[in-house]
């Protein structure tokens, strides 16, 4: 073949043909009433008792397909216009959703269920669906029984042994087709908050039972792989795992047909691509950009950024059972050595604030302890000297490797701050699964940065129970203090909110004194979206509810 022909053939093939294909594929016009939502991932499963329930992307699917019995009320907006919810414990703090009304008499709650609620399968919601949901939870048949756990958190009677051997009894009782009674074992303010969480969404009994098998009587496989029969505002129309999750509006939704007819949730792992797609209008909503990327959208035409400091926070945890971190002076030295304002400015681009306690500031029961750690290098050095610790360069700061784009600037600055203190820290990125294993199961991580703990029960007491009680479920630091344990025990069943909050304040004061964690920042949960989109609301699971949206 001649040289000229060779080049011509290559040119035709590699330039002209692709251009033609580009022109046909680029610049498609968006269908009306559709929102394309780009995220790091799409739901891996839809069974909240299944292996993917802890994955935030899976929770997005669950909360938009399911409906709870009760939920919080909307109240106010953040400075950037994101709708907020009001949190509390009293029945008046909640609105009925699938339950039209609810009353309490002693330890017995009576729920009057909403009539004429129709699910995506055309089935009507009745008390049988509630019984099915709690019976399924009590069966402990899924890989990760969140339903049982939340029922226990809410103090429902006889949800304690976690063995699945005792079927559902009178603790959740059908009175008639539209009346259910749920009995608590003891007073527990977390009952209604627990019912709002995705892990106690109501299943469509008929839809689920139609898919049961002898090996899988509770249809876990079906919910993990095909669909989630429920009574939510959206119905699943297409699901390609690892790629796409498409929802269409449930025209029969009791709350009215959703304003956005179709939601296309696409997995776009690269945040730079999500940013580009939002800027060009190829997508209408995205999340989980880096702080720098969100900052770059300031003033961008046709794009808004909604932000709220909710329950996302960054802290340092230092293991009380791993030397030298059992030395409180060393812990305090580290706490005083962090330049918090510089971190907020450089790593978060101002989209964060100093965290003053160890529970989210948006949660009921939050209080600001008198012991506060601010940047004071001289004090930090004095404390380090008092601690008697001499650095030998062996200390490592562990963080989740997959979060390099957001945590990279954070750990780099912390390393520099601690170097100024006199501690030569090595950075130790670990894959997420390994990090979780060492933190939650083995509990042997000496020193780590963590930005993914969001107590799912909206309550400072719940956060205490999870993280700081001796042997607590997520007590990653092996922290133990009798004052905290005894105070928590006293307030766990305290019905008086003022007394309860006073106890929680005592706990938070002690946690600060002991440097149970070094609270660094509370950072903003943010979304970037088309200026034509409105209605974004912050929910404590940080999942967008598509029913809130208007376009």
């Amino acid at each position: 073949m001649s040289l000229k022909r060779a080049i011509s053939a290559a040119a035709i093939f590699s330039i002209i043909v692709p251009t033609g294909l580009f022109m046909s594929a680029a610049g498609s016009t968006a269908a009306t009433s559709q929102v394309t939502f780009l995220s790091e991932d799409v739901p891996a499963g839809l069974d909240y008792d299944g292996p993917s329930a802890a994955i935030p992307a899976s929770q997005v699917g669950m909360v938009n397909l399911m409906e709870p019995l009760v939920y919080y009320k909307k109240s106010g907006k953040s400075p950037s216009g994101v709708n907020l919810l009001k949190y509390g414990y009293a029945p008046t703090d909640f609105q009925g959703r699938l339950a039209e009304s609810f009353t309490k008499n002693g330890l017995v709650w009576t729920f009057k269920l909403r009539k004429n609620v129709v699910g995506c399968n055309g089935e009507k919601f009745t008390a049988d669906d509630v019984i099915y949901t709690f019976a399924r939870a009590k069966s402990v048949s899924g890989a990760a029984p969140i339903g049982y756990f939340l029922s226990a958190v809410g103090g429902i009677k006889d949800f304690a042994t976690f063995d699945g051997k005792v079927p559902l009894g009178d603790e959740v009782k059908k009175i008639d087709d539209y009346t259910v009674q749920i009995t608590q074992g003891a007073e527990n303010k977390l009952f209604l908050p627990a019912l709002t969480i995705f892990g106690l969404g109501m299943f469509d009994k008929e839809g689920m039972e139609a898919q049961k098998t002898a090996k899988d009587p509770w249809s876990h496989d079906y919910a993990n792989t095909v669909n989630l029969p429920s009574f939510g505002p959206y119905c699943l129309s297409k699901w390609t795992k690892g790629s796409e999750f498409v929802l269409t509006a449930n025209a029969n939704y009791y709350g009215g047909k959703p304003a956005v007819a179709k939601i296309v949730l696409r997995k776009v792992p690269q945040s730079a691509n999500r940013l580009a797609a939002i800027r060009t209008g190829a997508a209408q909503l995205t999340e989980r950009l880096t702080p720098k990327e969100f900052a770059s959208l300031k003033g961008a035409k046709g794009v808004s950024v909604g932000s709220v400091v909710g329950n996302e926070s960054l802290f340092l945890n230092m293991n009380f059972k791993v030397a030298p971190w059992d030395n409180v002076k060393l812990r305090q030295a580290v706490a005083y050595a962090i330049d918090y304002n510089k971190l907020i400015k450089n790593a978060y681009y101002g989209q964060a604030k100093k965290w003053k306690s160890l529970v989210p500031s948006s949660y009921p029961g939050y209080s600001v302890p008198s012991t506060q750690y601010t940047y004071d290098l001289a004090k930090a050095k004095a404390l380090l000297k008092e601690s008697g610790y001499v650095d030998n360069g062996s200390l490592k700061l562990t963080y989740v490797a997959e979060k390099e784009s957001t945590l990279g600037p954070v750990v780099t600055q912390i390393k520099a701050d601690l170097k100024a203190l006199g501690l030569d820290i090595q950075l130790d990125p670990l894959p997420q699964t390994q990090f979780g294993d060492r933190q939650l199961t083995k509990r042997d991580l000496p020193f780590a940065v963590n930005d993914q703990e969001k107590p799912i029960g909206v309550d400072a007491g719940y956060a205490t129970y999870l993280f700081f009680i001796t042997g607590g479920l997520n007590n990653m630091d092996n922290y133990s203090n009798k004052i905290v344990d005894d105070t928590y025990k006293a307030i766990a069943t305290e019905p008086d909110t003022a007394k309860r909050n006073a106890g929680l304040a005592t706990i938070q004061e002690q946690l600060a004194k002991d440097v149970a964690w070094v609270p660094v920042v509370e950072f903003a949960t943010q979304w970037a979206y088309s200026s034509k989109l409105s209605g974004i609301t912050w929910h404590p699971d940080n999942c967008v509810r598509f029913f809130d949206l208007k376009i």
């Binding site: 073949m1 053939a9 016009t29 690892g242 690269q270 730079a272």
Partner: protein, 339 residues
Amino acid sequence: MRRYVLRRLAVGVLQALGITIAVFFVIRALPADPVSRIVGMNPTPESIKQARHALGIDMSLFQQLLTFLGFHGDGVFTGSLGKSWVSGATVLSEIAITLPTTIQLIVTSFIVALAIAIPIGMATARRPGGKLDKGVFGYGLFAGAQPEFWWGLIFIFVFYFKMGIAPAPLGMLDPELTAPDAVTNFVLIDSLIAGDFTAFKSALGHLVLPVLTLSFLLVGPLLKMTQQSMSRVLSSEFILYQQASGLEKKSIGRSTLRSALAPIITLTGILFGFMLSGAVLVESVFSLNGLGQYSVAAVLNLDFPAVQGVILVISVISLFVYLGLDLLLAKIDPRILVK
């Protein structure tokens, strides 16, 4: 020939199984427990025990191996690769979705890369030391050192963001389009089967930048191999004899190419096997739900069944690719079979 093929297949199947069993043990030696990811919200001893039972890792290693192979129900010997510990779906169904995406990407990339590399390689072999030869030398060095994900992002920035002539890097189809019914799971083929030419054009258009990215790097080694192989054959005695005999240039070119193809085909096969999981960075940049992304996610999530399944599938595909290549080489050069 038939005996050769059967022997190769038998040995290959044993090799694939051996690799998978080795991987079975290696991944279980990793210093992390997969249940921590599942029980994250509720890591009580009871829930950890429940999760370990649900995943089947409360059994001994030997029992787990027997279960995996299919001695206690469905397993490899019955055509099952188990269920993903992340999604709960069967590994086979997830690979059936992801593998076609990767194959579409790398087959198209190889077609483009070979269509560029072979003609130019032939041309430069005819004129050694010329401007094109020097350019190819430089390009070969340059392309071999490039990170493909970086070029992918550059192409997106230039062609999509700045020039607006490329589609958004949001997967294989525009979000507004409904994917055709999955028959083969190859979007290009399924859209043709469904007669959905809008989806076909969209899928092809969305492949352009990823293919450009991959072929940009594949062209380098293929070009060098073509050039060197052609040069070697051009200086051989039988070509000199053909030239002395006054045969047409076209005819000489055909027989030169035929003799030079063997190393090119071998290199193509090696690169193809590598690309099955090696295209992960390009898949990630362009949001393509391919096998590379699936396998990396499986490793990071300690999703043992998925890791085992991917290894087995890639081993089997490599087996068939190499066998196919050997048969093609035997067709081109019958002396190979005699040897």
